[in-house]
Structures are given as structure tokens and as C-alpha cells.
Amino acid sequence: MSKSRIMAFTWATMKNLFSKPVTKNYPAQPIQYPEGARGHIEIDIDECISCGLCERNCPPGALKVEKPPKGTWSINRFDCIACGYCVSNCPKSCLHMVTGYQEPMDEKFDYSETRPHMGEEWVKAQAEKVAKAKAIAAQKAAEKAATETK
């Protein structure tokens, strides 16, 4: 059946004239993201153990993890595709997907966070720990050998 629908659209036009706009007045009015919206990755750096699983499982290769003593976690937010695969692979659950997108910039850069208590002191403390553990192991081995000789 062929007819004109001009009245239906006139009605829609009139309705739109006297109703609130469907579009948001962005950026004057900030966008409300629903809970659980995937925006960007944040890290709870205190919990990070620099295992590097997130880096190995990042599809676009946007993550970079430097082992101690540097202990840095870097992300190129412009390469990140917000898939959330790193979040599901993190053994310490220190990565989180939070709402809000990366704002546009004129150049790409790495956003980096460093684990606390890293640096020379941390290296010295770790070396002392390792030396102590080695000494205990050597002492135990010597005691065991002495017992076997008796």
C-alpha cells in the first residue's frame, strides 16, 4: 500500500521541538558511563610482582613490564584496545578496567608506574635475602652430611 507518511514525521518534528534533546551536551555535560564500561586500564602498583604475564598476553603489544630493580609497568594507552585480556590474566588481580577513555593527544606516549621501594636499596635488601637463604641452605647441607658421616 502506498501512501504519504509526511504527517507522521510532522508529528515527530513537533514532538522533538518540545522535548529534551536525545543527544548529550558533551563536553559541557560530562558523559555518564554505565558501571563496568571498559574505558582504560589502571594498575594497583603496590600489588604488582612484575611477572610480565600482562605484557606477554597483550594482543596489540601496548604493555611493557621491566623486572626489578627498575620495576616499572608501562602502557601506551593509544595502542591499547581495552580488550581486558591483561586483566583476566593478572595473577595478583592488580590490573583493573575502569571507565573513561584516553583523551586525544598530539603524540603517543607511554604512561608508566614504578613499584615502590625499588632502586639500589631494594636490590641490596634482595641480595641480602638471597645470601641469607643460601647460607641457611649450606648450613643444612653441612649438618646433613655430618649426620650421614656419623
Binding site: 502506498s2 504519504s4 507518511r5 515527530a12 594482543p59 581495552a82 581486558g84
Partner: protein, 359 residues
């Protein structure tokens, strides 16, 4: 015989959201032949299987296309699950149907908007996209992403739809159904729209069959070809009949797609009502070893996924045949004998997705 001339169309053109080039052979204003060229946005996604492990590749597979991304992720997951013999929990199957059908509605509404824009009905274009926005909001609420969902995983899905969200979706789709009815009436009953759709770009049933068309393009020509009847995911547990057209013209394709949007609303309603409680994913261990072949129905038609693996974490081969690739030959056939002014409309009428086609 009139003098023949060749007019280039694309790759950049106001009606084209993505680049495709057509060489139109004209006799006066009538198109007598069309030579398509693609390859402007080839990204080599299939080759990446040699660099990304099979679980990581899922996120790349679903980025094959921005509109039917859930379908690509779903197809890839189904192919890997078939190789590995993974049985997906029933709830996950229903959730996949809900998201796949939401993708279908917003894809068809995107197409309806572009179609309205192509025949110069700006108001209708905005109305279509206004409704589409509501669907996208629901997709964002339930998956976390508006277009790229990243919610599928091998062995199930990553997110659940809770009762409040299900109620909200059911309420919203009721409103959307009412609004969609007004859009449908305008597309199918308005005489000025019909001048651009009735009897334009006819593709007969035999032509659609011979050229291997799929999806709404084939169904509008009277071919009963809908992969959802195979019963993958939870489609086997839901009641629906493929929507078949008769005339094979622009009007029939409009009708087919708009009716499918209503059918998708019905499927979402059924899936949310019948969805059982339980797990949404099963753990998957080991690497795939074998070969599988999966066909699913995406908004634009049948998509084919072929996976080959040999027990390694990297797949040997991944191949996807997307619906637009199959429909390009049909599109060129619809153009033969058409007027030059109808060409933009005939390009849009197959709902082309060039990113899918070129991968």
C-alpha cells in the same frame, strides 16, 4: 548503440562508509557493466594467527569488523570449541544469542539509516540512529563496550546479565519495538520512498543462487538460507522462522531487514525468558589440535570460519569468509540495467562491510 563510457565510483564517495572502487560502464545513464575492485584496507588479520596465541587471537578476530564484532568473536570461539571438544554451558549459549541479536538490530538500524540517507530522507536517517543508540546503550551496559564487546571467550562468556539488567532490556526492547514500527511503516508504505525502492535493483532467485549470495540479500530474493536454523549457540532452543522475501528488489531487502529487527527483538525476549541459571564459562586447558569449519549467521549474512591447528598454541591457519565478500557479485548484478542515479542506493542495499571483506 549508444557510446559507452566508464565512470569511476569510489573509493571515496559520500554514501560509502568504507572504501570500495567500482568502474561503472555506462550507456547514456544506464549501467551496462560493473567492475569492482577491493583491497584498500587489507590488514592481514588472518596471518596474525602465527604471532598471537589462539586465546589472544580471539580479541583480534572480533576486531575484523566494528559492527558485527560479536559475531566474529562468536564464530571464532565456536570453531576453537569444536576443535577442542569444549561444551559451553547453556546460560552462555543464551547470552551469546542475546548479544548477537542486539548486534543484528543495531546493524540493521545502521543500514536503515544509511539507506534513508542515500535516498535523501534525512529525518528518517536520524530516527533510525536514535533508536540504534538505545540498543548500543544496552550493549554497553551489559558488555562494557558499545561496538566492540570483548565479552566472548573460548568456553563461554566473560560477563553475565543479571535480573535487573534483563528487566531493563525487556522494558527497553518493548519501547524500541513501538518506535521501530513507525520506521518500518515509513520505509514500506511511504510513496516517495517506494519510488526509490520498488522494482529497483532486482536480483532474481536464480541469480542470487548462482552468484552465491547470502544473508538478507539472498533471502529477499526468495532463498531460504539462514544459518541460525543450524541451531548453533541457543538458536536450536528458540522458536523462529527465517524471513523470506519474494521480489528481490530494494523494497524486498528493506522489508526483510526491518522484519528481521523485529524477529531479533522476539529472539532476545525468548532468550532472556528461557535463559537457565548456572555457569557462564568452563575452563579451557591445553591447545587445539585438529580442523573445524563453522557457519554462523551475521547481520549481513553467512560467515564461514575455518580453523586448522596442530597441538601448538599458535594456529596453523585461520580463514574467515565474510558475507559481504559473497554478496559483491550479487551487488554488481543488481546494478546492471539500473540508472546511474540508483547506484549509491544499490551499493548500500547489500549493507556492504568492506573491513570484513578485506580482513
Amino acid at each position: 548503440m549508444a557510446k559507452r563510457s566508464v565512470v569511476p565510483f569510489g573509493p571515496q564517495h559520500p554514501v560509502l562508509p568504507e572504501p570500495i572502487h567500482l568502474d561503472l560502464v555506462l550507456e547514456d545513464e544506464t549501467v551496462v557493466d560493473v567492475v569492482p575492485s577491493i583491497g584498500f584496507i587489507h590488514r592481514g588479520l588472518e596471518g596474525l594467527v602465527s604471532k598471537k596465541d589462539y586465546k589472544e587471537y580471539l580479541y583480534i578476530a572480533e576486531r575484523t569488523c566494528g559492527i558485527c564484532s560479536f559475531g566474529h568473536g562468536n564464530g571464532y570461539s565456536l570453531a576453537i570449541e569444536k576443535v577442542m571438544g569444549v561444551e559451553v554451558p547453556d546460560r552462555a549459549k543464551y547470552l551469546r544469542v542475546v548479544w548477537a541479536e542486539m548486534n543484528r538490530i543495531h546493524s540493521h538500524l545502521l543500514w536503515a539509516g544509511l539507506m534513508a540517507d542515500a535516498f535523501g530522507f534525512e529525518n528518517l536517517f536520524y530516527q533510525c540512529w536514535r533508536i540504534r543508540e538505545k540498543i548500543l546503550d544496552m550493549v554497553e551496559l551489559t558488555t562494557g563496550g558499545r561496538l566492540i564487546n570483548s565479552v566472548d571467550t573460548i568456553g563461554g562468556v566473560l560477563r553475565d546479565i543479571n535480573e535487573d539488567q534483563a528487566k531493563l532490556i525487556l522494558n527497553n526492547i518493548r519501547d524500541i519495538e513501538t518506535e521501530l514500527k513507525a520506521i518500518r511503516d515509513t520505509f514500506l508504505e511511504d510513496y516517495s520512498v517506494q519510488t526509490r525502492t520498488r522494482g529497483v535493483g532486482v536480483l532474481t532467485k536464480q541469480q542470487a543462487h548462482d552468484l552465491g549470495c547470502c544473508g538478507p540479500l539472498a533471502r529477499a530474493s526468495g532463498i531460504n538460507y539462514d544459518m541460525r536454523v543450524l541451531g548453533y549457540d541457543a538458536y536450536g532452543m528458540l522458536d523462529f522462522e527465517p524471513i523470506i522475501g519474494t521480489d528481490g528488489d530494494n523494497y524486498s531487502r528493506c522489508k526483510c531487514r526491518l522484519d528481521e529487527a523485529f524477529q531479533s527483538i522476539d529472539l532476545i525476549r525468548q532468550a532472556l525468558t528461557k535463559m537457565p541459571a548456572g555457569e557462564i564459562a568452563v575452563p579451557v586447558k591445553g591447545n587445539p589440535d585438529g580442523e573445524s569449519f563453522i557457519r554462523i549467521e551475521q547481520p549481513r549474512g553467512e560467515a564461514v570460519y575455518h580453523v586448522e591447528a596442530s597441538g601448538d598454541k599458535f594456529l596453523d591457519r585461520f580463514r574467515v569468509r565474510t558475507p559481504t565478500f559473497a554478496n559483491l557479485a550479487g551487488m554488481c548484478e543488481t546494478m546492471k540495467g539500473a540508472q546511474y542515479a540508483d547506484i549509491p542506493l544499490l551499493v548500500v542495499t547489500i549493507d556492504p562491510c568492506i573491513s570484513c571483506t578485506e580482513r
